[in-house]
Every structure is written in structure tokens, then in C-alpha cells.
């Protein structure tokens, strides 16, 4: 980051840009001022002719004409000035301007033609009031706006909550602050006014974190969802994103049971095929794309920016939405120590039943009659000599999960602190899996002066985990059930039975130890030269060091070192391999902003301008060597055979530099305007294509503050209509994709010695740029029935253009054998509706309850490939299962159509499958090379068959409390998505693979003429809708029952709070899907190192979802 401080290489372009922003700022402020003076003009005309009279007399004579009344302090010196005036039938403004010329008097026209005359210099006659604003909890509140109602007089409280203001003797002080109920207090003679603000329960008064600032929810013009920390930490999940599942309309979270997995988040659908589709995460201002290091207990809130007007302030990063994570801070007061802990057990939530040995033998032997020699290939003798293995039992486990968090927080006059530590363990549900995470966080504020504050936010996390190869689930799915998993020290030899590895052995013989150390730190300085200007600078870093020690044990299938009950087969590892990986990820971010916040009469302005600079580097080192001894103490590269050593080292780096500006204006909290623009430059693009400009505009009308609204008041407590438009970008594409890069280590031997050459094998589009999304959003926020029911409805339409796609060219002549390059050609649309409703009420003092629900419909379509080619993906055994093409959702299934089972010869004779046998699958003959059914079933008979993307997602949350008992639940569901049961299609890769019980018992036989499951089959079946299933599901995500000890007890025991609880995560899932879980984490797209969008929804080898039951306690003192 040092580099940022260098002034050399200063481009005139950048300076110009800076000046432009400053100019813009000045103009906006000027406009604001002009509007104020323009308003001062009365209706009535005045005639006046006076010589050498005191101004007070002159005013008196105007009052005498009947239209206007004046209010002024007679102690004002200037009112006794003598003036001459001669006006006839002139507007009051003109008259007063003449009258006051040469004095320090100014005036203001109020309602009912009341004119206030005041001195523009600070009139000693006014009262100087000082005071302090605190919350009902006793904390000082800074930044509270203190104004005199109906005037421009105002200030804000400093970091100690103090304010000082000179005010007229009469009037009303208005104290308002985000998150608190606005308080009005009449001015009295008292020179000290201390005020206590009550925290608002009303949703609309709550603080919402927006990019580079905060706002009151009622002032929002965009679509932003918020989840509070308490709702997150309550759930027994490892990553906070998993806990927001079902809580915010339009946010789809796909999590895996794998303890170290990073949940996939999709906001308002999928807007890209080959770029990254994950949202941007911003933790206390520091951008990141992975929040697995954040302890849920430290989170104060997560705000989800959904529409383009909210996200546009993040410009080129924002196309997939933004999640803002705010962590907790200390509050002034004596130290509070809090502990929150739980211990529980976790298990696989659903297993697939596989055929037992007898069912298996029966099926395979029958298959061998149809497809093979007709002999019993699985003989009784084999069954008798073998065992009865449930392979899933063999490789899964129950594990202990625990979670402990302890924090100390407090504050004094000059500093607030929050220190927390967390420890979490989760053994997962697969043998050898393990996960432990330790986190520590320190968030401190230092008030150096009452207008200068420095904050530090530091978090460190250390994660130790042993991950497992999920492919073992696939092996377990296929392994023959009569083979024993393990007897004593020897393993059953599945590779002899049906050519799959023994999954238990392959789990045991691989040791992957990962240690991830991550440090996130931000230092923020905030300076307020005057009450309405805030200068803010923040320097943040995210350092991630991930080290992996991967050891594959040597094990043999014959001889003295044989590990099998029966020697032979092809599962063995001749030489042990050690692979050490060291990944360093470093991000530096420097933000500078200035915020002007000023109220002129009823005009409220907040203007933000700023710059950001970011550097991200990756350095990754991999060393592998063979023949390292098995002792864990010898896992060093030196211990292997030197001639087998391979070292690779690669890296990446990119930088961004941005300018941003945003105006929030509202008139009388009735009419709102938000306009923002961000200019982004990213090193990922060539210099001539580097700058992107991302504007947005939003308007809102808060009907609740209209005078006519009082008539509606019986129905509506709140009502706001908003509309927005914005443009955002997606630069989640590989760095340097625009330039042809050398493939290195392209060897040739000269003089018998290897010489490493280079070659340029991949053509690149030199004009590559970011993907752009334009989004419209129309929303309504309301509260009715005395604020018991509040809700939000949003309609949106988001169009992504310039999306990356492969376009063909005759490019062998460029050295690129793929004949294609990545370019900006495709376009997609996501449109949808989001509704969320929340009801909260008290039945009586003991019974309280709330229930909330949200639902989001999204329609995703490819609307143009623009010369690009349809993308096929999801290759299973040579069959591509998905096709992303015009007019279809991204990643749509493109499959042969299952049309039942042939029941008799006549059906076969009338079909396109003349060679089929009774009991085989019948496919629809849809088309042929000439576009007509051709009596042949082949690739021409594939058709679009839905996609993995749900048509809608929904969640219901609820809580009931009785006295100090509390019960809460939350749920999540998706509907309309499809899952392709890929593992089922791949069964039969070896003819003797095991089958599911349902297939074994429900298959077509002469006596069981099934029309849904074909006869016993040896080998795989082609990809078709036979393997396509509904992916809809509804799940209870969490149920928690708690008991808080009553106050008298706590006081006696010197506790502030003491609560015990039991909680269960994912206890029930309702789904028709036959596989391990309907919630499929998509595979990783290697190009962007992010979850793929074109082949998600294929269950092949996945980590199943889990459920857990825990009990815990939280207390503070």
C-alpha cells in the first residue's frame, strides 16, 4: 500500500477527475443554498413611505397593513437603526431587503405570514444551550441531530454526546438519531438540556448500513434487507451467511454440510455464466469474498444490498449484490463479560438406502441374464463368504459440535472496547473429517478529541481442518454390499468386486491437514472540522495464509504389505506422496470519504464523495515429493526422494482505484432522492478499457409524512413508495484475460538438456471488459394495524449485458486449438417479485409473539448469446447434461425425455427403439438431423427440461415468548428447481455397481410391470429425464427454546443476564428428492474460482446436509 503514497506517475486524468468531483460538490451545495433563498417570498404586496424611522417602527407599520406579523427580539441592536424607505405595492421580500440593507438582520417567512427577524451574526440575546444526549441504557449518543424546529438552527452531538447551540428563546428542540425515537423538547430558560433518547423498536427507525454510511430505514430509497446478529448467532452454523438463509427475500443461500465449506449466495438470481456470481462481502468496510473467518457471535448485523441503486456505490464489484457485515463495538460503561456456549451432536440428515447383498445379487444376476452370459455372477458362495456392508454406515459418523464465545466490552470517556474470543469445533459427518476454529476480535474506538475519533477493528482466526474427498460418497454408493468394509486391520477389496475403491480405505489412507490463519484489520480515523462535515479515512487489510499438508499413504494390494482381506485388484498406492501447499492472499484497501450533512429548513442533504484504492495479491506454492515415511513428524519435503520433487509457484495480483459520490436529499422526510455515481478502474482490464462509470438514481415518497396521510392513518402507520434505477458491473473474471499469456515450462531438449520455452496457446480478446447489469426496482414499504404488521414488496428487472461467453473463431491459426475465446457478448435477464411481511404483537404482558415470512419469485433467462455459442456443461460419462442457450434459464437441463418403460413387443415395434427389450426405458423421438422425428433416439432427441434454479424461494420465521421462556423457529424453502441425480446415472460405470433399494425392489420384472423403473441393467444408462427429480424442498432450519432466569434471581446472583437453551439445526426437511440433499452446493468454476452457474444442480459426489441438536447457556455480568 506504500505505493499509494507515491505521487509520481500522477496522471492529469485522475487529478481532473478529482477536481470534477469537488466542483460537483460545490455546485450541489450552491443549489441547496439557492433553493433556500428562493423560498422566501410572500404573497401580499406592501406599500411604505417612511423617513428616518427605526426599523422596529417600520415593521410595525407593515403589520398595520394587515397581512404580515413579525417576530423579533426587541433587544436586537439593529432594529433601532433608522432608515428611509419608499416603496409602493412591492413584494414583502423586496421591502424587507431594502429595509434591512446595511444591517445584520435577516428574516424568514413562516406559515401564516409570520416573519421571524433575526440577526445573522450570533445574537448575544439568544440563549446558549448545552447538553448531553444519552440512550436509555446510559450510553452517550454521538451524531444526534439537534435542531430548532422550523429553523435552520442546528448541530449534532460530538463523540461524547455533547452539544452546544445558540437558540431563540422560544421554540422547540428536535433530537433525532438513527435507531432512536425522535424527541421534541420545548426551549425553556434552562441553559442545560440533557436528553435521553429511547431506542426505537420500529423497523422504520432502525439503522441500516449502506455502502460508506448508514441510514434510517425509513429514509431508504433502495431495497436493502437486514438480519440482526442475534438471529445469526442463535443458529448452530459455522458461517454467518448460512444463517441468513430464508431471512431476506431474494437471497438464496446454498450451504453444504461440509464444515469448512463456503455457502453459495445468489441475490436476485444468477446473472452470469462464466464470471463469478457470488455477492461482494464488506466486513466493517473491508471488502472480501469469504467470511468464513468471522465469528457469528461478533456480528451486529448483516445488511444485504439488493437493488442497483443501493449497490451502485460499489460499482464494478456490485452486480451480484452486496452483503455488509457490521461487527459489534463496546458501549460506554463498566465492563460487561458475556459468555455464550453450546455443546451438541451432529449427524447426517438423510441417507440413501442401498440394496443389501441379497437384493444386489438378485439384481445383478438378473441383469446378467439380460445383458451377459446368464450365469449367476454373484454366487451364494460369494455372499456366504462376504459380509453385509452398509457403506454409508461405514464411512459416516456422528460428531460432537461445540461453540464457545466469551467477550468483554465497555467504555470510558475516551475509549470504548469490545474484545471477544470464540472457539468452535465440528467433526462433520464423514470419517476422518475434522474442523476447529479459534477467533479473536478487538474493536476499539478512541475519542482523541470531541471531533476526532480513531477506531481499530482487528480480527484473527485460525482454522484447523481435515477435509475429506467427497468422491468417497460416490464410491460408497457404488461399492458391492457383500464386501466387508474392514475386518481387524484389513480392508474389504471392493476393487476386485466391482472396480471401485474401498471408500473407507481411501479415507483412511489420505491425510489432509489444513491450517488457515487469517488476519483482518482496519484502522479508521474520523474528523469533523464542523458539525456537518465528516472526514473519514480507513485503511484495511485482509491477510490469509492457508497451508495444506496433503499426505497419501503408501499401501499395497499384494505381498507382505497387503492391506486387503483378499489381495489383488487395482486399489493401491505404490509410493507415498507428500504435497505441501502454501497460499498467501493479501488485500489492502484504503478508503477516503467526506460527508456533508446539512439541513436547510425542510431540505435535508447528505453528500458523500470519496476515493478508494485496493490491491490484492495471491502467491501460491506447491511442493510435492514421493516416498516420504508415514510418520506425521516427517512430513517435510526433505524426507522424500529428491528426484521426484516438483515445485510449482504461481500468483496473481490486481488493483482497483475508484471515485464515488452520492447525494441523499429529502424534503421534509417526504420526498427522497438518492443519486450516486462511482468511477472504477481495475487493473484486470487493459489501460484503454479500464474506466467504468456506474450511476444510479432512486426516488421515494414517504406518504406517512404527508398531511393528508392522517386520514389514512387508521389503516396505514407507514407507507412509502420507492423506485430506482442503477447500473453496476461484474469484474469477477480472471486477471489478464484480455492479454495472451505465455504457457511456461514448455520444454525442449537441446544438447540433451531440458530448456524451458514458452508458447502462446490461448487467444485473448484485447477489448475484454466487465459485465454490466442495469436494474430497475420498484418497491413499497408499509406498516399497518398500529405497526403490528409491516411489509415490503419489491419488483425488479435486472438485465446483464456484455456477459462473458465463448465465441468461436477459426483460431488454430492463432495457436489456440480450442478455436474460441472469452468475450463480452451474452446477455441475461432476471426479473422477479419479493414480498416480506412481519407481524409482531403482545397478547398480554406475558405472551408475546411474532411471525414473519418472505417469498421471492425470480425468472432467469438467457436473452442473447450474440454470436456466442450455447454452453454445454455437466459432463457425465460423455453426456452433457446442461445447456445454456437463448430463451432458457442459465444451466438448463437438456436431456432425452423419459417416456416410461416398454411393457410389450407392440410398444417396441411402434417406437424409435426397435432394438429395445421389454422392460427398457422408452425415450421420446422428438427430432432428428432434419428437425423431424426420425425413428432414431440420439442427441437430436434432447429437450430443455427445466433448470436447477428455483422458481421461488421462501422463508418463515416465528417466535413466541411467555414470561421468560422463548421459543423461535425459522424455515426455508425453494420451489421449482430440478436436480439431476448424477450419481445414479453413473451407477453401472462398472456393471456390478450397487443400486438403490428402490431400484432393486421396484424394477420392472415380468411380475412387476413397473412403468417408472427399468429392468435390471448392467452398465450405465444415457443421460435423460429419468434421472431428473424435483429439487423443491421445505426445511425447518432452526428451532430454539430458551429460558431466561428472572430479574430478582439475577440480581441476587449478580448476573446481568442468564439464559439456558436447547437448539436444533435442520431438524426436518420435506422433499421428494431421493438423493442425499436437495440443497446442492455447486461445483467450483476453476476460471473464476467461484461456484459455477452452468452445471449446478447435478448431484454427483456431494457432502450431504446435516442436522444437529445442542444445548447451551449464555450469561453476562
Amino acid at each position: 500500500m506504500k505505493k499509494i503514497l507515491t505521487i509520481e506517475g500522477c496522471s492529469p486524468h485522475a487529478v481532473k477527475k478529482a477536481l470534477l468531483i469537488m466542483k460537483l460538490t460545490s455546485i450541489l451545495m450552491l443549489v441547496a443554498t439557492l433553493q433556500v433563498s428562493a423560498r422566501v417570498s410572500g404573497q401580499g404586496k406592501v406599500s411604505l413611505k417612511l423617513n428616518q424611522v427605526e426599523i422596529s417602527k417600520a415593521l410595525h407599520s407593515i403589520e398595520g397593513q394587515g397581512t404580515y406579523r413579525f417576530l423579533y427580539n426587541s433587544r436586537l441592536e439593529a432594529v433601532s437603526h433608522k432608515v428611509n424607505i419608499d416603496v409602493a405595492n412591492s413584494p414583502i421580500g423586496e421591502v424587507l431587503n431594502k429595509l434591512f440593507a446595511g444591517t445584520d438582520l435577516t428574516y424568514k417567512l413562516l406559515e401564516n405570514n409570520l416573519i421571524v427577524v433575526v440577526s445573522s451574526t450570533l445574537a448575544v440575546q439568544d440563549i446558549r444551550i448545552t447538553g448531553k444526549v444519552t440512550s436509555s441504557a446510559g450510553d452517550v449518543i454521538q451524531g444526534v441531530s439537534v435542531t430548532v424546529k422550523g429553523t435552520t438552527i442546528g448541530t449534532t452531538t460530538d463523540n461524547d454526546g455533547n452539544f452546544a447551540l445558540t437558540v431563540p428563546q422560544t421554540g422547540t428542540l428536535v433530537f433525532s438519531s438513527i435507531g432512536f425515537v425522535t424527541h421534541e423538547q420545548p426551549i425553556t430558560d434552562s441553559a442545560v438540556v440533557n436528553v435521553t433518547l429511547v431506542a426505537s423498536n420500529k423497523l422504520l427507525d432502525q439503522v441500516v448500513v449502506v455502502g460508506y454510511g448508514t441510514q434510517r430505514r425509513s429514509d431508504l430509497t433502495g431495497s436493502i434487507g437486514t438480519v440482526k446478529g442475534a438471529d445469526i448467532s442463535k443458529q448452530q452454523v459455522l458461517t454467518a451467511t448460512q444463517a441468513i438463509q430464508g431471512k431476506v427475500a431474494g437471497v438464496q443461500v446454498i450451504s453444504s454440510g461440509d464444515p469448512n465449506s463456503n455457502p453459495t449466495v445468489r441475490i436476485r438470481g444468477v446473472g452470469t455464466t462464466l464470471g463469478g456470481a457470488s455477492p461482494l462481502f464488506v466486513v466493517d468496510g473491508v471488502i472480501t469474498d469469504d467470511i468464513r473467518n468471522i465469528n457469528s457471535a461478533d456480528i451486529l448485523s448483516i445488511d444485504v444490498l439488493k437493488d442497483a441503486s443501493s449497490t451502485a456505490i460499489y460499482g464494478v464489484r456490485a452486480a451480484n449484490g452486496v452483503l455488509l457485515i457490521t461487527t459489534k463495538k463496546g458501549k460506554r460503561g463498566k465492563p460487561v463479560v458475556a459468555y455464550d456456549g453450546s455443546v451438541g451432536a451432529k449427524e447426517i440428515s438423510k441417507l440413501v438406502n442401498m440394496a443389501g447383498p441379497k437384493q444386489y445379487a438378485n439384481y445383478i444376476n438378473e441383469g446378467n441374464i439380460y445383458y451377459g452370459t446368464g450365469d449367476s455372477v454373484i454366487t451364494d458362495a460369494m455372499l456366504a463368504a462376504g459380509g453385509n456392508t452398509d457403506w454409508f454406515d461405514a464411512i459416516t459418523k456422528r460428531s460432537l459440535i461445540q461453540n464457545h464465545n466469551v467477550s468483554v466490552s465497555g467504555g470510558s470517556d475516551n475509549a470504548d472496547y469490545f474484545l471477544s474470543a470464540g472457539y468452535i469445533t465440528d467433526g462433520g459427518i464423514i470419517q476422518t473429517n475434522a474442523f476447529k476454529r479459534f477467533t479473536i476480535r478487538s474493536n476499539n474506538d478512541y475519542r482523541i478529541a470531541n471531533n476526532f475519533k480513531v477506531s481499530t477493528l482487528v480480527s484473527y482466526s485460525r482454522t484447523n481442518f481435515r477435509n475429506v474427498d467427497v468422491n468417497n460418497f460416490n464410491l460408497a454408493y457404488r461399492a458391492a454390499p457383500y464386501i466387508q468394509s474392514k475386518v481387524g486391520k484389513l480392508y474389504g477389496n471392493t476393487s476386485l468386486a466391482n472396480n471401485v475403491g474401498n471408500p473407507l480405505l481411501s479415507l483412511d489412507q489420505v491425510s489432509t491437514a489444513n491450517v488457515d490463519n487469517r488476519l483482518q484489520a482496519t484502522v479508521v480515523a474520523e474528523y469533523k472540522p464542523v458539525s456537518w462535515i465528516t472526514l473519514h479515512t480507513s485503511l484495511g487489510t485482509d491477510l490469509d495464509f492457508l497451508n495444506t499438508t496433503d499426505y497419501d499413504y503408501q499401501f499395497l494390494n499384494s505381498g507382505p504389505a497387503n492391506v486387503f482381506l483378499t489381495a489383488g485388484g487395482n486399489q493401491y498406492v505404490q509410493q507415498s506422496t507428500l504435497a505441501l501447499t502454501k497460499n498467501n492472499f493479501t488485500r489492502w484497501l484504503w478508503d477516503n470519504t467526506v460527508t456533508f450533512a446539512k439541513t436547510f429548513d425542510k431540505h435535508n442533504f447528505t453528500l458523500l464523495a470519496g476515493t478508494t484504492a485496493e490491491t490484492y495479491t495471491i502467491n501460491n506454492f506447491v511442493g510435492t515429493v514421493k516416498n516420504v515415511p508415514p510418520s506425521p513428524d516427517l512430513r517435510f519435503l526433505d524426507q522424500g526422494t529428491p528426484s521426484t520433487a516438483i515445485v510449482t509457484n504461481g500468483g496473481d495480483k490486481y488493483t482497483r482505484n475508484s471515485y464515488l459520490g452520492r447525494l441523499n436529499y429529502n424534503f421534509d422526510q417526504r420526498y427522497y432522492l438518492t443519486a450516486s455515481i462511482r468511477a472504477d478502474a481495475a487493473s484486470k482490464f487493459p489501460s484503454y478499457n479500464r474506466w467504468g462509470y456506474f450511476p444510479s438514481v432512486a426516488l421515494a415518497w414517504n406518504l406517512a409524512h404527508e398531511s393528508f396521510f392522517s386520514s389514512l392513518n387508521k389503516t396505514f402507520d407507514q407507507l412509502k413508495i420507492r423506485g430506482s434505477w442503477g447500473e453496476v458491473g461484474n469484474d469477477n473474471i480472471p486477471s489478464n484475460a484480455y492479454t495472451p499469456l505465455a504457457t511456461i515450462n514448455v520444454p525442449y531438449f537441446f544438447n540433451g538438456t531440458q530448456y524451458n520455452g514458452i508458447s502462446f496457446d490461448a487467444a485473448a480478446d484485447k477489448n475484454l471488459k466487465w459485465e454490466t447489469s442495469k436494474e430497475y426496482d420498484l418497491g413499497i414499504d408499509f406498516a399497518i394495524l398500529h405497526n403490528r404488521l409491516n411489509g415490503t414488496i419489491d419488483l425488479y428487472n435486472k438485465k446483464t449485458t456484455d456477459a462473458l461467453i465463448f465465441v468461436n473463431f477459426t483460431g488454430i491459426y492463432l495457436g489456440d486449438v480450442d478455436n474460441q475465446y472469452l468475450t463480452n457478448a451474452a446477455s441475461f435477464r432476471n426479473k422477479g417479485v419479493e414480498v416480506s411481511l412481519n407481524w409482531a404483537d403482545n397478547i398480554d404482558n406475558n405472551w408475546r409473539y411474532s411471525i414473519g415470512g418472505n417469498i421471492a419469485f425470480n425468472q432467469n433467462r438467457v436473452i442473447g448469446l450474440n454470436g456466442g455459442q450455447a454452453l454445454y456443461d455437466g459432463n457425465l460419462n460423455g453426456y452433457f447434461v446442461t445447456k445454456t442457450d437463448n430463451g432458457q434459464p442459465i444451466g438448463s437441463y437438456f436431456l432425452r425425455q423419459f417416456d416410461g418403460i416398454f411393457q410389450n413387443a407392440a410398444q417396441i415395434a411402434n417406437s424409435a427403439q426397435k432394438n429395445a427389450q421389454v422392460g427398457d426405458i422408452r425415450y421420446k423421438d422428438i427430432s432428428g438431423p432434419n428437425g423431424k422425428p426420425d425413428g432414431v433416439i440420439d442427441d437430436f432427441d434432447r429437450a430443455f427440461s427445466g433448470s436447477y434454479q428455483p422458481k421461488y424461494t421462501y422463508g418463515i420465521t416465528g417466535s413466541v415468548s411467555y414470561k421468560t421462556f422463548d421459543l423461535s423457529f425459522n424455515t426455508y424453502g425453494t420451489h421449482g428447481g430440478k436436480i439431476y441425480n448424477g450419481k445414479k446415472q453413473l451407477t453401472g460405470s462398472d456393471p456390478y455397481d450397487n443400486i438403490e433399494t428402490k431400484v432393486a425392489t421396484g424394477r420392472w420384472t415380468v411380475n412387476n410391470p413397473s412403468n417408472s423403473i427399468p429392468r435390471a441393467t448392467l452398465g450405465t444408462l444415457p443421460a435423460s429425464t429419468y434421472f431428473l427429480e424435483s429439487g423443491s424442498f421445505f426445511r425447518i432450519n432452526n428451532i430454539t427454546l430458551g429460558y431466561t432466569f428472572p430479574k430478582p434471581f439475577l440480581t441476587k446472583a449478580k448476573f446481568q443476564n442468564l439464559r439456558v437453551f436447547v437448539t436444533t439445526q435442520n431438524p426436518f426437511t420435506f422433499t421428494k428428492y431421493s438423493g442425499f440433499t436437495p440443497e446442492l452446493a455447486p461445483p467450483i468454476n476453476a476460471t473464476v474460482n467461484a461456484p459455477s452457474t452452468t452445471n449446478a444442480g447435478i448431484e454427483q459426489a456431494i457432502y450431504p446436509s446435516t442436522r444437529s441438536l445442542s444445548g447451551g447457556i449464555n450469561f453476562s455480568f
Binding site: 506517475g9 490486481y654 511456461i744 485473448a764
Partner: protein
């Protein structure tokens, strides 16, 4: 107040300016990767991109190929020297089987891979030429030597293409991606145009490359002798006898090359009794291979694809493709030492037959355990006596491929002499015969053609030689192959390439 305002605005201004002046901050070069732009000024990159072009000689396996496995499958298998081999079905339809039977069509994978591999090789050579030409740090001599090598390789790749497909797309520069859909790159150049490119490239190489053994070159690099030999072969194809004669004469008179006394040692990795081995005195141009941890310094499957294939029961030597025909076996005169050096004969089953003992002592069982009756000895790479692949993968045996031997130079010289009525024809023909332990013969064109077949058998020359000689149809049909005149002299242009050109690229006659 006013002062504060000014102060704050000034501060903001400073901050904006500091963060704003960062053009350099945004100029981030790819990390750990050379760009094409940088390569133009990087001295090392000139040599490295050239090595990248040499690396194209490794293309093989079942992927894009230049002189690797599928090139062997296309040329030898098409000729009367070899059959597809392996099991009857293996690699039959749309593979080498259709090549063997002359039922090849435009969707054939081999044809596609040969086209792709050669054009990738040409693109790499063009990139190297571009970078070497534009690089200002190189002195003129070095630049010309590097250019000579790159153009030699390009000439070599085009010579393969023009013989395999006839007139092809002419690409002699690095096009922009936006250009490649233009007519220039989607319309076939004439055979003559391509030959002009080849001649110009080889001539430049011959003029600028050092002689073998010069301090400025290294074993494995193209040198003057290689360029002259290839140029002579091109002129042989052009029937420009005088030039072929002169160029081969130049190579012969350089005194830098000689025949390996014992034919069978030519194809060994190491010398035997001081003879043969890789880069022996007879070698003029040879694909250099070697052992490295990533096993990418080899032509995949070149040896293993042609290795003897078992029917089970023994750790066999390969896939069993490209099997010498009886016709070839019968072409050898009695006593010709080249017969047993070219063909591995699998012994029949029965009696006391213990099978075939190879030169390294490896015993191949009898025919009941072996798929085919004959295999190429020239592609054999011993699993016990020669360097294995470091990863133990048999497909990656580091077998050098002999592309141009002095024996061929002698035969070109002899044929050119014969056509020019020069008595040298007999002299040089008999040099080759004598080495094979055969008595003298007369230097007629027919005798020289006959000699070429047995001398260069299984070295990917026979098919094109027959076409050049204008008797491919006659000979092939006599050998029982379904060769169609005016069609099978060349292979079909891959359909995918025609499709990508939107039909502007025209198919060869008869396909």
C-alpha cells in the same frame, strides 16, 4: 467557520489527489506469466518462444499431432508398409481403421488432429518469428540463426501439411483474433503457393543456420545440414533434380555426416560398441526427448502406441498399432540386415518356441498371448535397458524420433543423379545397400525407389513417396488396398475447419 471549511475542502482535495494519481498503481502486469507484449522486448523470450515451436514436435498421443503417434497412424497405416494393428475394433471407425481401408472421411479424428497440431506448430513458429524479428536486443547473426530455426520448423510443418492435404491455408504471420475470420485465413492457398512458402523457409534456414557442431548451435537444433536436406527433399517432390542434387551434394561434402555401420543401432537410445544411439552421425534432424518430472519432454504414445500388445498374462509393451505388413516383410532381399531391425516378428505358438527375445533380452511370448504378428522395431523403446518415463507411465517413454537421416540424403542424391544421368547414382545407392549387407545394384530410379522403401520403412515416408512417384494407386491396389485415384493422394480437410470457415474452405476432391 470559513477557515474550517477551507481546511476541510483542502484536505479532501489532497486525499482525492493522492488516491487519484495512480496510473502506475493500475498497471499490473500478469504475475508469473509472460505476455506477448513483453515477449517482444525480452531477450530470453525470443529463444523461449522458439523452444515453444520446437515443443510442437512433441504433439502426439490421441491429441493434436505433428510428427507423433497419429501422424504415424495416418502415414504408415495408409501405406502398403503397415496395417492398423491392435485389436480389430480398436481405433477403427473414425480412427486408423478408416485410414487403413481408405474409408476415411472429413470427420476422422486423426485428420483433425494432424491439421490442428501442424497449425498450432505453425502458429508457434509464427509467434517466434514475430518476437525474434521485433526484438531489438538481438544482434543480427543471432537473430538470423533464431529466425532460421523457426522458419525451418514452419517449413517442416507446411511440408507435412501440403503432402497430407494439398493446398492449405497460408498463415505466415501472427493474425489478430479479429482477422482470423477474414477470407485470408479461410481460403486454401494453392499447392504451389505453399511449396513457395516451404522453399523460402528452408532456403532462409539453409542460408542462415550454422553447420552441425558449430559453437553457436546445439544438438537438436535445426542446422544448415537439416535445412539443406529438407530443401533437397522438397525439390525431389518438385522434380527439380539439379537443386536436389546440389543441396544433397552440399550435405555430403560437408563431411559432417556418415552412415551408422550397423543399421539396427540407429534407433537405439544409446550407442552400442560406439555406434548408433540418439543423435548418431547419421542423424540429420531428430525429435529430442528426455526425462523430466512432468514427463512432458516426449511425444506421447509414439513408442507405446506402436508397442507389442498382449492378450493378457504378461506386462505388454504397448497398444500394438502400426504393424508391418507381410508385403513389407517380403520386400526385403535375403540377407538384408534392415529386415530384422525394422520388424519384430512374433513367433508362432507351439513346440519349444519360447517367443521373441528382443535386443535387450526382453522376451515377448508367442502368438497365443500377443495380439498381432509383427510390430515396428524402430519405435521400440526398451522398458528395461532404456530411460523410462519418470512417472512410470509407459505412454511417456522418451523415444527420440528420427525425422531425417543421412541415408535418405544419399538416396535423394542418388535419385537426382539418376534423373540427371549422373553416374553418382549407383555409387550412392550402393553405399546404402552395402551398409545393409547387400551386394551392389544399378542406380536406376526404380532401384532407388525400391531401396527407399526398405531403408525408410515405418518412418512415415512410404505413403507420400508413392504419391510423389505417381504410382500410389497401382502399388496400393496391388497390395490389396482400396485406393481411389485423384482422391486418396491426399486426405480430407477436417469438416470442423470447413464449418468454421462457413464453407469458404473447399474440400478435397472426392470427399
Amino acid at each position: 467557520m470559513k477557515n474550517y471549511k477551507q481546511l476541510s475542502i483542502a484536505t479532501v482535495g489532497v486525499l482525492l489527489t493522492i488516491a487519484g494519481c495512480q496510473k502506475k498503481f493500475l498497471d499490473v502486469n500478469p504475475q508469473g506469466k509472460e505476455t506477448q507484449v513483453n515477449a517482444l522486448t525480452d531477450t530470453a523470450a525470443a529463444s523461449q518462444t522458439l523452444a515453444g515451436a520446437y515443443n510442437a514436435l512433441y504433439f502426439g498421443g490421441f491429441d493434436k499431432t505433428t510428427v507423433g503417434f497419429e501422424w504415424v497412424m495416418m502415414t504408415d497405416v495408409a501405406s502398403d508398409d503397415a496395417d492398423k494393428g491392435s485389436t480389430p475394433d480398436d481405433f477403427g471407425t473414425n480412427g486408423a481403421g478408416d485410414i487403413d481401408n481408405f474409408t476415411v472421411n472429413a470427420n476422422n479424428g486423426i485428420v483433425q488432429n494432424v491439421w490442428n497440431g501442424h497449425y498450432v506448430g505453425i502458429a508457434r513458429a509464427n509467434q517466434a518469428i514475430d518476437i525474434i524479428t521485433k526484438n531489438t536486443a538481438l544482434d543480427q547473426t543471432t537473430r538470423n540463426r533464431l529466425l532460421g530455426e523457426a522458419r525451418f520448423l514452419r517449413g517442416l510443418f507446411y511440408f507435412d501439411l501440403v503432402r497430407a492435404f494439398g493446398g492449405v491455408v497460408k498463415v505466415t504471420r501472427v493474425p489478430q483474433p479479429s482477422e482470423v475470420s477474414s477470407d485470408e485465413f479461410n481460403i486454401r492457398a494453392s499447392v504451389d503457393t505453399i511449396y513457395n512458402v516451404i522453399i523460402s523457409d528452408f532456403q532462409f534456414a539453409a542460408d542462415n543456420l550454422p553447420l552441425k557442431g558449430d559453437a553457436s548451435t546445439a544438438v537438436g537444433r535445426a542446422n544448415k545440414g537439416a535445412a539443406e536436406s529438407y530443401l533437397a527433399k522438397v525439390y525431389l517432390y518438385q522434380k527439380n533434380w539439379q537443386k536436389a542434387f546440389d543441396l544433397t551434394g552440399d550435405v555430403i561434402n560437408s563431411g559432417l555426416y556418415s552412415l551408422v555401420p550397423d543399421y539396427k543401432y540407429i534407433f537405439r537410445e544409446s550407442q552400442v560398441n560406439g555406434e548408433g544411439g540418439n543423435n548418431n552421425p547419421e542423424s540429420i534432424f531428430e525429435v529430442q526427448t528426455g526425462q523430466n518430472t512432468t514427463s512432458n519432454g516426449i511425444s506421447p504414445l509414439f513408442s507405446n502406441g506402436q508397442g507389442p500388445r498382449g492378450k493378457g498374462g504378461w506386462n505388454d509393451l504397448g497398444f500394438g498399432f502400426n504393424d508391418p505388413t507381410v508385403d513389407l516383410a517380403n520386400a526385403y532381399e535375403p540377407g538384408d540386415t534392415r529386415n530384422s531391425a525394422t520388424i519384430i516378428y512374433i513367433q508362432p505358438t507351439g513346440g519349444l518356441n519360447i517367443g521373441t527375445i528382443l535386443w535387450d533380452g526382453f522376451r515377448i511370448p508367442t502368438q497365443d498371448s500377443v495380439q498381432n504378428e509383427r510390430y515396428s522395431y524402430k519405435a521400440y523403446h526398451s522398458p528395461i535397458a532404456e530411460t523410462p518415463a519418470i512417472d512410470g507411465n509407459k505412454d511417456n517413454k522418451p523415444k527420440n524420433i528420427r525425422l531425417m537421416r543421412y541415408a535418405e540424403v544419399l538416396l535423394i542424391h542418388a535419385e537426382a543423379a539418376a534423373m540427371l544421368g549422373n553416374a553418382d547414382a549407383t555409387t550412392y545407392l550402393n553405399m546404402v545397400r552395402a551398409r545393409a549387407n547387400l551386394g551392389p545394384s544399378t542406380g536406376t530410379q526404380a532401384n532407388i525407389w525400391k531401396e527407399r522403401r526398405v531403408e525408410l520403412a515405418m518412418e512415415q515416408d512410404r505413403f507420400f513417396d508413392l504419391v510423389r512417384q505417381g504410382r500410389a494407386g497401382t502399388v496400393m491396389r496391388a497390395a490389396g488396398k482400396n485406393f481411389v485415384d485423384n482422391k486418396n493422394e491426399v486426405f480430407p480437410i477436417p469438416q470442423s475447419i470447413i464449418d468454421l470457415s462457413n464453407g469458404r474452405l473447399k474440400q478435397n476432391n472426392g470427399y
